[in-house]
């Protein structure tokens, strides 16, 4: 079953076409990797699917709802973790969880049990009442991910979740992603790390706003005669005309 289906989705900013007629489908429970160089249009595409940015043209359904007509219904069913850290730094871990849980309509009881479970898995029991700003980046990212998952969404969108994070934490982060996928959550993730691309069930590579390649890492490696995803990526991304922006 497809939880995301996108057809000819386009976003233009004036004369600049950030996302150019992209078409793909994502199945439920899949880990879908969204790759591309800086400025290829990954974030813009993801922001459209989350209902943060209005598409210029094209069609899309997310979690079974039309992107134009039912954006607010989509929002009940998705989680989003942006590139920029976006928990409240002047609130404690517990208060952040309570805030986002409450916004999604969780009652006090389930907020409490979620909080207990969450801090136990992240081993943050003794930090639960400290302000988020005092946490190291890796912990912040894991916390952001958990908060994006607080309402058990059908799909979670992760925009470069492991940027600037140490290898051990990255490993732990991916364990969390696998667990989420195992529970049936669809994971839509952008990344620059090619070892992470290998972890995905399927990968799409964007070049200059278009989807240049789409398939499982094995299929892509065979198709482009590469030994790893890094080589696949380089072969495709070198064709890019757009600069780094």
């Amino acid at each position: 079953m497809n939880v995301i289906s996108v057809k000819d989705l386009t976003k233009r900013f004036g004369n600049f076409t950030a996302v150019d007629r992209i078409t793909f489908e994502v199945e439920q429970g899949e880990i879908f990797g969204f790759l591309g160089a800086n400025g290829a249009g990954k974030t813009t595409a993801m922001r459209m699917l989350c209902g943060l940015s209005m598409p210029t043209s094209g069609e899309a359904t997310v979690a079974g709802y039309d992107l134009y007509k039912h954006a607010e219904k989509i929002k009940k069913n998705i989680g989003y973790m942006s590139q920029k850290f976006s928990l409240y730094e002047d609130l404690t871990i517990r208060e952040n969880i309570r805030f986002y849980g409450g916004i999604y309509g969780l009652n006090d009881g389930s907020i409490k049990s979620k909080t207990d479970h969450l801090v136990a898995t992240l081993k943050l029991e003794d930090k639960v009442n400290t302000l988020v700003k005092s946490l190291p980046l890796g912990w912040k990212q894991k916390l952001s991910f958990s908060v994006a998952m607080i309402h058990d969404p059908k799909i979670v969108f992760l925009d470069e979740p492991t940027g600037g994070v140490d290898p051990i934490t990255r490993r732990e982060f991916w364990t969390m992603i696998f667990e989420a996928a195992h529970r049936g959550t669809t994971v839509f993730v952008t990344t620059h790390y090619m070892d992470e691309a290998e972890y995905c069930n399927r990968v799409s590579i964007m070049v200059d706003g278009q989807v240049e390649a789409l398939g499982s890492p094995e299929v892509l490696k065979t198709k482009y005669e590469a030994k790893d995803m890094g080589e696949v990526f380089l072969k495709l991304a070198r064709k890019a005309k757009r600069g780094d922006d």
Binding site: C50, G51, L52, S53, M54, A71, E72, K73, K75, K76, I78, G79, Y80, S82, K84, F85, S86, L87, Y88, E89, D90, L91, E95, R98, F99, Y100, G102, I103, Y104, G105
Partner: protein, 372 residues
């Protein structure tokens, strides 16, 4: 409803965790209300006068004595050179030059009339105007005294005179503090409300948390209300602190019902906060929001009738003040504090400000985009 409660809980937590806001809540009313009324004084004292006396007669001495015996004037110099006197004006050491002509006394006695010359330093318009007016009234007093001295008053005064006895309603002693303090209180509530609300949403834009809010199913009006209510409460707290300070420091107790002030302030704050939130949804950075609301507040306050009377403004400015919520609150505040106006008396003010509030908040909800 629950989403709104959760939002409010978070906003209040953030306010109480921000020492700058808390400090401002107490320090700003205290400083503005204790120091500004001392400086914002309409009475002109210590007008510096330089007298050029070409006559050196006993009458000219009498006149000078009469002028300097009031505390409105201080004598800078007594000289017999107009050039020298003008240099005082040029160096801003004198505000007025009074020139007493040669044969002042002789002409007064012999020809029943004499012309005095008055040069006014008009750089400070208010001081020049008032100083000149004071001096004129002192000279005319002097004139009457002369007349009394010379003329044996007949039974019927040959020259009919109209004497004016006046009474100042609502502020019998014309204490300008009763007039200024309520107005300054309005400015205080306005500035705190407008700036805090203008900076709030745009701050979430800058740190990126607004994205995280925008991917939730929260409703736009809930979000705006969640921002409005905390600052509404803060505004009323500041009003309370301000009323207490003006009672303790100046003994100002509103003649009218304090509840009337609170009801109006409650409605007024909705419109001012609406303006702030609208600014905040339109601006992209805190700097933009700050400059924009600073500009608007400047205009609203200067054309709000605090320092200058609206009735003496040009027509276009008077029309503008009809759309200026600040001018309504200043008027209401003075009406209730000095005159004891009731809710019924201020009903049109109340409805107009309520209308501003609905329009501005409506615009803020409309211009806040979850998707762009």
């Amino acid at each position: 409803m629950r989403a709104l409660m959760i939002l409010l809980e978070k906003e209040f937590r953030q306010v109480f965790r921000n020492p700058a806001i808390l400090r401002m809540m107490f320090v700003m009313p205290a400083v503005q209300l204790l120091i500004m009324p001392l400086a914002a004084d309409y009475e002109v004292k210590n007008v510096k006068i330089c007298v050029v006396d070409y006559d050196h007669s006993s009458y000219s001495q009498k006149l000078i004595h009469k002028i300097t015996s009031t505390d409105y004037f201080t004598l800078v110099d007594y000289t017999d050179s107009y050039e020298k006197a003008i240099t005082y004006v040029e160096h801003d050491e004198a505000d007025l030059v009074l020139q007493i002509p040669y044969s002042f006394e002789a002409n007064l006695v012999r020809e029943d009339g004499v012309t005095l010359f008055l040069a006014i330093n008009a750089i400070n318009g208010v001081k020049a105007n008032l100083g000149g007016a004071y001096l004129r009234s002192i000279i005319s007093d002097f004139n009457n005294e002369m007349r009394l001295e010379w003329i044996q008053l007949p039974r019927q005064n040959p020259q009919p005179m109209i004497d004016i006895a006046s009474i100042n309603w609502f502020n019998p002693l014309m204490n300008y503090r009763y007039f200024m303090v309520p107005g300054i209180l309005v400015i205080l509530v306005t500035m705190v409300g407008a700036f805090l609300s203008a900076l709030n949403i745009v701050k979430e834009k800058e740190i990126g948390t607004i994205e995280q809010i925008n991917v939730t199913p929260i409703r736009k009006y809930q979000f705006i209300l969640g921002k409005l209510i905390p600052f509404w409460v803060l505004g009323l707290v500041i009003l309370t602190i301000g009323l207490l300070i003006s009672w303790i420091a100046y003994g100002i107790v509103p003649v009218g019902n304090v509840l009337t002030i609170y009801i109006f302030a409650g409605v007024y704050l909705i419109s001012i906060l609406g303006l702030g939130l609208l600014t905040s949804t339109l601006a992209h950075t805190q700097q933009q929001a700050m400059l924009l609301s600073f500009f608007m507040m400047m205009v609203f306050i200067l054309l709000g009738g605090l320092y200058t009377s609206i009735d003496s403004m040009p027509m276009w400015a008077q029309i503008f003040t009809k759309f200026n919520p600040v001018s309504y609150f200043i008027e209401v505040m003075r009406m209730v504090v000095l005159k004891g106006s009731s809710l019924y008396d201020i009903r049109t003010h109340l409805f107009k400000v309520l209308l501003f509030g609905l329009v501005l908040n409506g615009l803020a909800v409309w211009s806040y985009r979850k998707r762009n």
